[in-house]
Point group: D3
Chain length 304, copies 6
């Protein structure tokens, strides 16, 4: 089972203006082969299909717990996409429908994101191709699945870096800066899991690509607080056994700020869920929502 908390894993700054092509760039991290929907779905189905869970508890716990964090990554990128499409939210609430108020939406890269989603995120990549099951590997062979996951996180890192290099807007850059640190934790964790079983010191390949995070200003505050050494336990009571892999005296990678690896009980404090202003001329949430707002206020009061 899963629970939900109405917080993002980190706070995202509001963009200065709408930038649909930057939003389209972020989509690569949401629905691309090496995007967050892929990391989520690989670990989620691997955890569902895991064989000999009891006997291999530390490995099962690691995969199952990271699944929960990945849900928050999907949420984070999705909010970034929606924010970049939306902009700072100072749009007029009324518009002349017949005056082609959205004529510029014809020329954005992924125009269907406006037509169909009103600027919302979708599980597709930056070229508008859908995420699909071809991006999921779940063989049941623990060593192979872990090797796959290690490669997947390195690929995810490469894509995050390249997307980052195209973004000047702070919203998208923050998404990348945060995910680069957290993805680094996952790559490291899978490397340690492989090392425990096979003895191969595969963590010495990290970071791949070999760019250190001190070059990414947006990553610094996360490194400063030690996020790269922390595996959050996203569960009230379960998955403690992963501490056998992440912890146990293992150290941070030499290219990151030094320190011991630690399992942290519970999620990070995170940031507030962004408020996306309605775009009334696009009927989102509705064209003339005042009555809806009034109804909602009444229902809200009743719910207290």
């Amino acid at each position: 089972m899963f629970m939900r908390i109405d917080r993002l894993q980190t706070e995202l700054p509001v963009p200065d203006e709408p930038n649909p092509n930057a939003a389209a760039a972020l989509q690569e991290l949401l629905g691309g082969k090496y995007g967050e929907t892929s990391t989520l779905s690989n670990y989620m189905f691997q955890s569902f299909n895991f064989r000999s869970k009891a006997k291999l508890r530390p490995f099962y716990s690691l995969v199952a717990n990271i699944t929960a964090e990945e849900l928050g990554h999907v949420e984070l990128v999705s909010n970034g996409v929606a924010m970049l499409n939306n902009g700072p939210g100072d749009q007029e609430s009324e518009a002349d429908i017949s005056g082609a108020p959205f004529e510029d939406m014809q020329d954005i890269r992924l125009a269907a994101s406006f037509f169909s989603n009103g600027g919302g995120a979708m599980p597709m990549n930056s070229n508008g191709n859908s995420w699909n099951m071809d991006f999921v590997t779940t063989t049941g062979n623990v060593i192979f699945d872990l090797l796959h996951n290690f490669h997947l996180e390195c690929g995810a890192r490469l894509h995050k870096l390249r997307v980052y290099e195209t973004l000047s807007d702070p919203t998208g850059r923050e998404v990348c800066g945060y995910l680069l640190v957290r993805g680094g934790v996952h790559a490291h964790a899978y490397a340690l899991a492989i090392k425990k079983i096979t003895g191969v010191e595969i963590e010495k390949m990290l970071p791949t690509p070999n760019i250190t995070l001190d070059r990414i200003p947006e990553s610094q505050k996360y490194l400063d607080e030690g996020s790269h050494r922390r595996l959050y336990r996203f569960s009230p009571d379960d998955y403690r056994e992963m501490a056998g892999i992440w912890g146990n005296g293992e150290k941070a990678l030499p290219t990151d700020p030094p320190g011991e690896l630690e399992v942290v009980d519970g999620p990070p404090e995170g940031g507030k869920i962004p408020e996306l202003e309605g775009t009334y001329p696009a009927f989102a949430p509705d064209y003339a929502p005042e009555e809806m707002f009034e109804i909602a206020t009444k229902l809200y009061k009743k719910s207290r």
Copy 2:
């Protein structure tokens, strides 16, 4: 953010024997157009993309909270698929690799489920077609999205009933019996949300298809405990505002056992995560896992 609890939403009985074609039938409920991956993804992206969350809090909370429950539905069906492929787990742990030990896997409906997934679940339908973004509707228009969701839950109900009608095995039947009750709650909830805004008593269309659950023996214990009247709040502290929609003196549907609708704080007790025995001749988790088990035991002890 999302948290994970190492429990299924309900307990699933162990199947009497492996039944890959029954597992393939259940895949329709996992990755089909009206399957659980679809309900999950529609609500998840709608909640990410929701406009005017503050002003429409009860509606946002409803969609956001049901998302969390749907994650558990995906988990439930996936476990059902894996259990049906696996059977009762009394396979021999050794096999002559060269003796075509899995010759019968050539003739099952979705043979790639063995080759690629070792019997695990995948986000695909019963014909082996991938789930994809064409199954997601997130327009940002609240009324339309709610209407879509109402139709989606009715479609999900129809598919669950038809899959149920093909299953004699208790594992798959339990999955259906449980989900029929919970899906009924979601359909009812979306109907009430529509009624609150538009005044249309669309809940009077329920149940669609118009078969009452008293005909489904596996649903009885859930009806008896009042599950059809309960909306679980899958969150430590958030989403209380949905009580303005589900509650407020609203009653159970006339075709279900009577009573008042209520929001229940926290998830149901649920059942244990099934243990899937390793299938060693298929190298899942590995061919000769004794050493892995030993390593895992040591890591487990260290994690304490």
Copy 3:
């Protein structure tokens, strides 16, 4: 069986200049999830697969007859796409092939529309993704299929409105203005069908999105002539039974000009099929077609 008439359902104005990105926008209405290929295919397959046609004749007739109108909608949008790509048709008939005469086609949103289709329409959405069967729901359950269709028409309306809001060109706007009126008829008709069976006054949700058509200048002449109250019977002799649903004293929606609903025998007068000038440098219909024209003239005379 189907018959064809060499007329469009309404007359489309010739565009002032080629506008490939406006054509790409219209593609959303042709091949998107909520586009005309979807409405057509849903109703077409539902009519083929309809159970108990004899006993449920008014409902079967409604779905079967609207199918025929949808064919004309697919035709209308397709012609709009081709016209917008083509422009007013004053291109030179000769060009230096080696002088990169179409260099600007490199930068249009859906460049393959030039390379592959010479500016013609294709069953794809505005991002270039193919229409496919995932957009078709045909369960055989009449109530559910009608509910699906009602939701589909509301979604189609939302997409038409958003596409309309991006278009300044009169060709595309006329397509939208016409289809908004006719799609409104279909939504209303499915709502009445649902009401007849279930008693739920679901038509009170219309229009969704709740923007009235008096805001769309291009829709006015159709409203003035009462198109919103007319269900055309696109058949020489069949499908009269749908008058039991559309008619019978039912009235126009309160947000539309008032009047009684009526079944009109036969199609609307419509407009002429647009003449698309050849683009000889793109070898469409051919590079040096004079001989072809001469042959065609001879064949034409023989056919008299």
Copy 4:
């Protein structure tokens, strides 16, 4: 614009028993690369996108008119699929939902056809893959498009023959026997069109594959009535100009019964639309439809 007539292009015999795998075989002719949805969509979009329609009227008319016939072919195959899934229609109207009444549906080749479509047809091939735009060629170059169409009809013939060779049931065989004759007409017509423009006697390649229809018993009555020499004009008043291509003294192919080619005004008489009995345990049209039938009867009376 298109009109609809509530008749099939030929009468189909009722199957002796349900045969879902035979229905799945027929799906290849409905949604495969060389199936009827492909022939329909190629000609339909080519007719929409046709350049210089006025100057090339006989060629435009040919493509536009055959489009209308192809709609009826899609209808014919779809009805065949639904009939084969349905069987003779003597199912009990009541069933114990909880007794796994459709257990055998788990093992049919395309199980989703039951779960999702209740035995209805879908635009997919015999392996369950969706029809999509990759099957459409519409370049605007008339000679190339005609060459493509000629190849397409030969491919369609090959597939019909192979599907026919797997069918023992009379329903599916009749579908093939009829379509082989009519597809032969289309291949011949496109060959003549190519010959008129290029002078190449490409019709001498016919039939490809080179099996004559006298070997197909189900085709005999159509050959006897001269169907292979007739191009039906599926239009009240239009498309007469195609007589410049089909006619003009052109003769039947030497491998078919002799005679002159002729354009016939109007559609063939055809056969009645099959009545598909409801499958109540599968909620198609509904579980307890008596009330629906009563409502429909009242509406029917009102429509008179």
Copy 5:
């Protein structure tokens, strides 16, 4: 079996500057329905699946040998794509990762080509849609497969011409100029094969589209050297039997420079494989590759 030679089939000029949208245009020739991956895969699978190879040796040899040439065409277009994305290669080898050095990549048509492939080619068309098996026809019927191939080469010619008409850059134009000549050979060869079996002089349809290559400056040197009359035998010892089809006194097409057709033993001399400079800020081949270069140099010396 296949062998590889580290040469391109012709020399490509280095582009003056990066032009990602021109690269995207070339992708149509790589992964489109009528692109080189399609011609390759059709002939490759037809050769694998060929029936009665011994008895039909000249036809088998023709298809099998052209397969090998097509591999080089895929290679040629791919190199063209990568060169156009890369430009002349005078990029700085160092960049401030955090300064959005690739901000302009947000706005190119196929941005995922940068994010995912670092400017490399992929088997997709100009709209970013994947190549897939729907583009392969391999029925085993020799006459039909040859007819398909003839149509395929005509379609490939049309697409090459249209792509060429959008390109001002010399790299892409050279790709087109060369492939137009070689594709013409393949179309001619398949036409002759059809003629040998059926007697139909289908080669008289060539060229389709009917634009002669004397209009394409980049094709002249290939015509001058007689490339249009040469079928290269891409094999040390095999496939000589195709000389029964291409040769035997057959002449060049009347629209091409005159001469006899001939089979040439061995591949053309070709040109050098382009050197793609590293794009270090995009971590291709790596961020700080000096150490890699040093290792490679040592390994190179050991390999001598």
Copy 6:
């Protein structure tokens, strides 16, 4: 450029009888995510897109050369599929088309393989899903691409083993037995390449899955001849530089027969291309091919 030799990489035994479901199982190795079309296409596009080829020559050579071997693997599996569908080839050459001679083809797993391909191979997996570009990773980052390739070969090994475990027929088993040895070479080679750059002894993870090939009888003759230690140089003159990686005193894996790694100039001797008997009732190569055979004989004589 590529050359072709009319030999398979190894000799395949003729199957005792047709076995379409075994052929369908082999399809997983042809078109699945971890199949030979994937290994081929990954290395092929990586070699096309390779950055700094001159400076990284040993690594480029390795990837470019293995590409050529993979073409032969695709050929080997494809021939295996076609042979298994075809059987021993003692079918009657004449059949009554109208007697449903292929009725049993209705019930095979991938019926479209008969309808569309006449038993030939296609680039799809065992569930009939198309191979597509989502299976290709070519980032330009050499370390990451090598890591991906290492994981890909391990995945390929797992799939080969599982497919092998379902096959009792000698044709399919020989395909697996051979490919397991050769795939092992590729995994080892990529591991060594990674080790040379990063120092990580990743080859110690081999074999993954950890089943040694001494358990596979069909692999023994290849191990006996030392195939596991040989990297064939599939080129007349190029790619010698890979000897810096494979060779240099490196040894066979400890789980394989001992010895030094060596680069072998030229391809293996291989086996003859299988002769697939015509299936005349399925019109492959044609229905009455005698005349074709006669024509081919004449052309063959002329080609001498």
